[in-house]
Symmetry: C2
Amino acid sequence: MRTSIATVSLSGSLTEKLTAASRAGFDGVEIFENDLLASPLSPEEIRARCADLGLSIDLYQPMRDIEAVPAEEFARNVRRARHKFELMRRLGADTVLVCSSVHPLAVDDDALAADQLHQLADLAEEFGIRVAYEALAWGRHVNTYGHAWRIVEAADHPALGTCLDSFHILSRGSDPKGIADIPGEKIFFLQLADAPLLAMDVLQWSRHYRCFPGQGGFDVAGLVRNVLGTGYDGPLSLEVFNDVFRQAEAGPTAVDAHRSLLVLQETVGVATPPAPVVPTGVAFAELVTPDAEPVAAVLGALGFARAARHRTKPVDLWQQGEARILVNTSGSARRTGTGLAAIGLESPDPAGAARRAEALLAPVLPRRRAAEDAPLDAVAAPDGTELFFCATDRPELPNWRADFVDGAGVPHGTDDNEGSHGADVTGGPHRTGVHRIDHLALTQPWHHFDEAALFHRSVLGLHAQESVDVADPYGLMRSRAVTNADGSVRIALGVGAAPTDDTVHAQHIALATSDVVGAARRFREAGGRLLPIPANYYDDLAARHEFADGELETYRELGILYDRDAHGEFRHCYTMTVGRVFFELVQRDGYRGYGAQNAPVRLAAQHTARAVIGG
Amino acid sequence: MRTSIATVSLSGSLTEKLTAASRAGFDGVEIFENDLLASPLSPEEIRARCADLGLSIDLYQPMRDIEAVPAEEFARNVRRARHKFELMRRLGADTVLVCSSVHPLAVDDDALAADQLHQLADLAEEFGIRVAYEALAWGRHVNTYGHAWRIVEAADHPALGTCLDSFHILSRGSDPKGIADIPGEKIFFLQLADAPLLAMDVLQWSRHYRCFPGQGGFDVAGLVRNVLGTGYDGPLSLEVFNDVFRQAEAGPTAVDAHRSLLVLQETVGVATPPAPVVPTGVAFAELVTPDAEPVAAVLGALGFARAARHRTKPVDLWQQGEARILVNTSGSARRTGTGLAAIGLESPDPAGAARRAEALLAPVLPRRRAAEDAPLDAVAAPDGTELFFCATDRPELPNWRADFVDGAGVPHGTDDNEGSHGADVTGGPHRTGVHRIDHLALTQPWHHFDEAALFHRSVLGLHAQESVDVADPYGLMRSRAVTNADGSVRIALGVGAAPTDDTVHAQHIALATSDVVGAARRFREAGGRLLPIPANYYDDLAARHEFADGELETYRELGILYDRDAHGEFRHCYTMTVGRVFFELVQRDGYRGYGAQNAPVRLAAQHTARAVIGG
């Protein structure tokens, strides 16, 4: 029989996957949509590559959440499907996988599902395409192969058949004997996977995934309140079975563990460490680099001006609006290359913030680096990043800014970013509308990701959002953001796919602008290089959203990515990487996330570019 | 409140864990039994260490499967408990955790459970010990904290209370409000853990744990037969979402994927690759080493004689009974150090075995290394180990043995291991009763563990046993054995805790002897060094099993480990490591396993010894 493999089953870029499949002797492939979106090859080039490699494209997949929805929603789905059928024609793929819906609007109405799938098949037929409808094991209403087949049978269309997947059938314990009732010619496709018979039960959960209080989702504090209510006066003891902690160095894990109990005791009211002092903004981000020029070139092109220099140290202050970036070329950077070394957090009470941090076992750093410097409270985060608790130009407090001597150009402390930034030796004055740092993204040591979230939450008083998985071509990453209430401090904590992966995924500084298109253009005009985004990404955007005339073309030209959530829209683009750092320009119109939807495309583009322009 | 942490929550040796807990500011610890068993410190020394570090020992844990069992079983449990109470007295621990039973003999009888726990508490009281009874979330009959408390209340004994664990309570969604009904003084202990709210459901299973057909537990072939029965004539296509494959190099993964489909097609009868030729024994194991002397010293002490030398290559044949080990000092070993490089498998049809391997995409190695050598069929396993398909002294087939020229000493091919091995330049002649290689343990590349099992199963026709988790002090390992029907070929495939872990866990050669005590003694007398096993391990053996007078003392003296299963007993001990290789002496009296029960103790002892005596 002919053999085929879905590109999602293999690691790497789409072309690496195709080459590996061909060499191993496969006859064909299923193209997984995300692999296509992330590929710099056009559909025609992918088609030609497959032909050269002797591979047929047996399936394009998946199309989701199509059927059994209200008419208006279905009209949007048909529009999206038409885009994908056009793509498939370019690709030379004649079968598309449609998974049973998991959409909240999908209704439990087989007749409606059959009718809408019939309409979809009508459209597909115009393109010479067959639709293979498959029951996901977790489909909202259709989750067994028998159910999917009944709908296909009722729809009764020559271009509509079913797709069987061994995982979806066997994971639910369905009896495959019933397959005999389906005519072979109506089985358009057969996907195979095995799986370990995982007892995905409470025992596995307990043995491998426990974590310290505050790192998970349990209301441990509520339980402890109940226990204390009985008069219990024994110890609070941690018993945590966790595969990652088993590998991690015991010292930091123990500190993290103890911190979790201190916070827990505070929460239940039996301990009163100094109260958290939540930061109100980002005073600065500090880059260390052995060579300031590549960093200066990017900052200059981004519209930053070199505003001041530290009085005693080789540290320059670059500024635009309220976005301040320190560039430090002192000795230690020679060893580590260009990286994000410190964050200045604007604090209502710097000394209080430091007391809180110290009480929660954060390593406190020396307050004063040189005799003449302003005293600065600082602690080290679990990943080694230095966190400074700062006051910027507040008369009653030591002013870190006073250690910097203004150069030519912008007077310090201005809130006016409309043209007041003077010329500078490195970058020209031009407005990109950057007014502040939107967020900072830090890569965490693999073994201490949970620790980092607890640290930022408890020590800094930030709120931790849910952790999300992000597919990188070479593994699965996790990301979790911590923020203050008004979003003026946002830190995205990321972790690579494997313990060895520390350096692959760079840190970055995201700069807020009110006009990302203008900012991107001016960055390019000033000689900056933006990360190229594959054209396939924009074809997909066109299928998913409607844009004003020319809008999408502009994004495509500049490499601007797009997302939206219930609160608004998000447009963002990336610079090439300097050392371990890159910059993002973001225009956030109410949107609350970080573009996680686009992260796989960005990560693949970074692998493609492997574009380290310095450092 | 006082804070405490279970040693299982941290990585490393017991002393590393205690130090980390103390430095982080904990007041006390729970001693996890396995950490004590694996520690070279005596209970008194552990007690003193804790005192020095300012740590109290708040709990000894766990004691399992005690209650609600038939009288005879309970008598054994009381005997075991008495041993542990004596241990706790030495340790200075005054509270023991008893988990609700998961034993198959446990009955659903609260009155019996209460009565037996009362008896246990009576015994504990003699030692000044309190028993804290806890409901495991997966307990056989008792799995909620309310149920455990009702039994404690009914037992009504001052030395019996309950232990609450936030994981066991919250993971089941129990309402912690009911805790108010328990008097605080009857809550003897409180264990805390959080956990991510994992939807451990079919979606997670699908997204992260799929694997190729034959690597998991599904009857994929049965399903495919059903589909083919319908007349389906599309491709067999693999769609596998797997976190490990996402990171693994695409080339080997694709080969493994294609192999899985070839085997699947054979199973369902639509393809007929050459039939498997199951090996009937181990002809030899081949070590490569840059320096033969340390290996020769160990082999000599193990009772092997240097029997012959390869006619053209720097390879010595060491032999004892039917156990043959080649020691290869050719150039390539200089780069890789001492390791297990090849296995000779005795094959009924070497050429047929090679044809099978080639048809299933195994890389075939050149048949003849030098013009005058006997042609040898060989393939590379996924970990790079060379597998030779051999015939030993079978007239109709090329004889690998004929390439070796006998030296002084044993004539080749003898079945007589009673004194016929002559003296040798390196080792003295003495009988350790080694008659064959029992099994070979190979460490697999982290990203290709599932591939290795499928390879050995499909290419060699071996049977793959279930995979087991083994706790190493620095992470969790997995191990899976593949064997032929009569157990004359056994290969244990192991994988480390993390991708970085390739070299930590050595390969080993296990040698079968009918008298491991005698063999160990003679090995030591000949100057060999055995891996020291902690005394605590033997105290635990005494609690778990009854031995003849002096038997346990002998094991303790020599470092012999003990296990039993439904089929018989197992006694085994280990040499120190040479390069990446160590040897095991095993006496297998019907027992079918590999001593996985003892592996954590062995691994900890190896970390303690860090005893590389050469290579």
